[in-house]
Chain length 184, copies 2
């Protein structure tokens, strides 16, 4: 069986939801998968074309009077199977996420201590902003009445983001302290 890239599987997954157009896919990703996945129109439309070519989905043109037409994509049986097959497969290897702050820190010898401290403080602030965003989204999910099933999975991914962000904030605090007590 053919293997596709993760972008393709992400789109196949989204096509199992209410989102059926390229535009709607982009919106769903920006709204709900934003903290662990992103994608541009430059990928979406060509990938949709590929998905149709491969017989994983079908296009239907939907016309609403007084509105421009739009292309709606519907998964085929083959498409759903392909998605399920991918879902089952274990994550092959943990990704090595490139981390700019760690890269800069690693070369910290070449910089005055005070500047590294500023860098870390700024980073911590960014992390705290992110955490607040996550908490705001969480509240939004809990107050809005989505189906329980839908919000269940969404909240799980948010929880991951909250936990790892908190861990990173703790690290920042701890690291800053090391710098401030370091007497050189």
């Amino acid at each position: 069986m053919k293997k596709y890239n993760d972008t393709t599987y992400a789109i196949l997954g989204i096509l199992t939801t209410e989102c059926k157009t390229g535009y709607a896919i982009k919106q769903l990703i920006d709204n709900s998968l934003n903290h662990f996945w992103k994608i541009s129109y430059g990928q979406i439309y060509p990938t949709l074309k590929l998905i149709v070519q491969e017989g994983l989905a079908e296009v239907r043109t939907s016309s609403t009077p007084g509105k421009p037409d739009k292309n709606e994509y519907y998964l085929t049986t083959k498409g759903l199977e392909e998605l399920k097959k991918w879902l089952e497969q274990p994550v092959e290897q943990l990704p090595i996420e490139r981390n700019e702050i760690l890269l800069k820190l690693f070369f910290g010898r070449n910089q005055a201590k005070e500047k590294t401290v500023l860098l870390l403080q700024n980073y911590q602030q960014e992390l705290e902003n992110r955490l607040q965003t996550y908490e705001a989204i969480e509240k939004g999910i809990l107050s809005h009445n989505h189906t329980v099933e839908d919000s269940f999975y969404w909240l799980l991914t948010l929880d991951y983001g909250k936990r790892t962000t908190k861990a990173a904030i703790d690290w920042c605090e701890c690291t800053l302290e090391k710098f401030l007590t370091k007497g050189d």
Copy 2:
């Protein structure tokens, strides 16, 4: 002033250490930056060429009798300045790391609960392996007598890895529990 990509700055940073050849750069990254940065020869050699073109480093051919020649790269004043300028700049925006397990989990509705559980258990195992690797590296650094200054920054980046990995493991445990108590 020109802006370069992070790969270029990473190499400039490494050139401030003892590593002077393309091969040595690759090794340093694989050994010490492995958990937050990676790079292939396909990037290293062309980037070194660019760095020389831009006057950020100079090549010197080092000949040792009985050994093949090698190209050693030395930062110029301009190169060091360029590096320092980059080090000072705050991390513009937190990266959105693509996370395959979260993507799969997000589409978990389309899969039997037991299969999702397997996925998570496997992921947790991978995380635990990673954590052990980090702890082994930490021990290695502490026992080996590097200079204090060098190991200081190295240990900081390792600490980040340990903390965020632990947070991810906790999340796995917590999520698995939610699945196992979920009665559907």
